[in-house]
């Protein structure tokens, strides 16, 4: 799997956003790789309002805990129960089965293109 996927937008805090109604949010392969094996994920609840740039959950690996930042503002429509049950999905397929939640976007935070995100992290662009 490529480290940075095309057709997504990225936050500097390593979340990705797949445009749509609702939009889908996850963490990048770059972040998953840096965290190591993810063992616990906490997510906002359905109906919560998340705010771009604010923390909305946690991603815990065997070695560390990282905040999850909302890349956009809006209402949470769905959360990925499969990831709560099996956090390793985030390591295995961060841009697919490891998605975290969907959100009805009212405003976007500052987001990067795949090329910009790749350059900022010193990895190959898709």
């Amino acid at each position: 799997m490529s480290t940075v996927a095309p057709n997504l937008k990225y936050s500097a805090e390593h979340e990705w956003l797949a445009a749509g109604d609702p939009a889908t949010v996850g963490i990048t392969a770059v972040a998953a790789e840096a965290l190591g094996d993810i063992v616990y994920v906490s997510l906002p609840e359905v109906g919560d309002t998340v705010t771009a740039g604010a923390t909305c959950g946690e991603v815990e690996s065997t070695k560390s805990v990282s905040d999850l930042y909302a890349p956009v503002t809006g209402e949470v429509i769905a959360i990925n129960q499969a990831v709560l049950d099996d956090p390793a999905l985030v390591n295995g397929d961060p841009y697919g089965a490891g998605w975290l939640f969907t959100v009805a976007v009212t405003a976007e935070g500052p987001l990067l293109s795949p090329e910009e995100y790749a350059a900022a992290n010193g990895v190959a662009a898709p």
Binding site: D37, V39, E60, T62
Partner: protein
Amino acid sequence: MTERTTALYDAHAVLGAHFTDFGGWQMPLRYGSELAEHTAVREAAGLFDLSHMGEVWVQGPDAAAALSFALVGAFDTLAVGRAKYSLIVAEDGGILDDLIVYRLAPERFLVVPNAGNAALVAGELTTRAAGFTATVTDASAHTALIALQGPRAAEILATLVPEEDHEALAALRYYAALELSVDGAPALVARTGYTGEDGFELFIPDTRAAELWDTLLAAGLTRGLIPCGLAARDSLRLEAGMPLYGNELTRDLTPFDAGFDRVVNLAEGHNFVGRAALEAARDHRTGRRVLVGLRGEGRRAARAGYPILSEGAVIGTVTSGQPSPTLGHPVAFAYIDPEFAAPGTPVQADLRGKPEAFTVVETPFYRRTR
């Protein structure tokens, strides 16, 4: 500070290691999944580069007496071929390092301190041995240390040891060591480790390290052996209830704080650096925090530095903690007020503002059954 690398750095890079700074060294943190590495050691075998650790030789007619003066234990009674866990403390009783001492001949000892403390320990041993007929030689810079750990370690190592030595290898006891031919050249083979599993630590000249590393990996290929980094080493030692210098053991703590009463030999006539302070520390335990194990009742782990609470009041601090891969729940070491130290006592860990239920438990958290 320039970070040092071991003789195996290139081998790690080829294996795709993620590196981390540890005690001034660039060491492999993990190669792939640290959980897979942890599990390999519990179920098959793992290979670790520990060449950052120190190797200090103490030799001469007074070597045993010099070590008995320099460390908190007595070494005149240590049998040749056996190893002993010990501590070196400052004059005020504060722990400078924990270390393993091997007696390889009546007048020949190998001391293995932690990487970050190796130079300090070598210096202290030199100073403390000054009044004895003993020489102290720091061989850390040209000695490699490779650990082969796990239930299949003995079987893998045997493939590299001559047939006539198989019996001696099989008979080698825990905390014992002997010199053997491994892959055709002499190695000091110790049955020690930091994982809670059976296993070996192999001391060799660093010029041999890369070849032996590759040979061991090849020998273990069909037996589930994989290279393991410091992440797995840390989770394995924590499950096994083993302290880490810098976390559970520090300059500000005495061996009694850490529960190492049995490591300190206060027998009459055993004069050693720090003895007076440790006698006082033994007699003034009241109110001092004690090291305990904690089991998390939820899924979230308490990490080093997190406060431990009881009814909202801070009663302690976590020194190491993470989810236990083998047990499936969080585990931690913490120093807590003695009135809460009894196993079964419910406490909370302050997980970044959110209290989470933990219970004081006996350590080790994990004990192997085979």
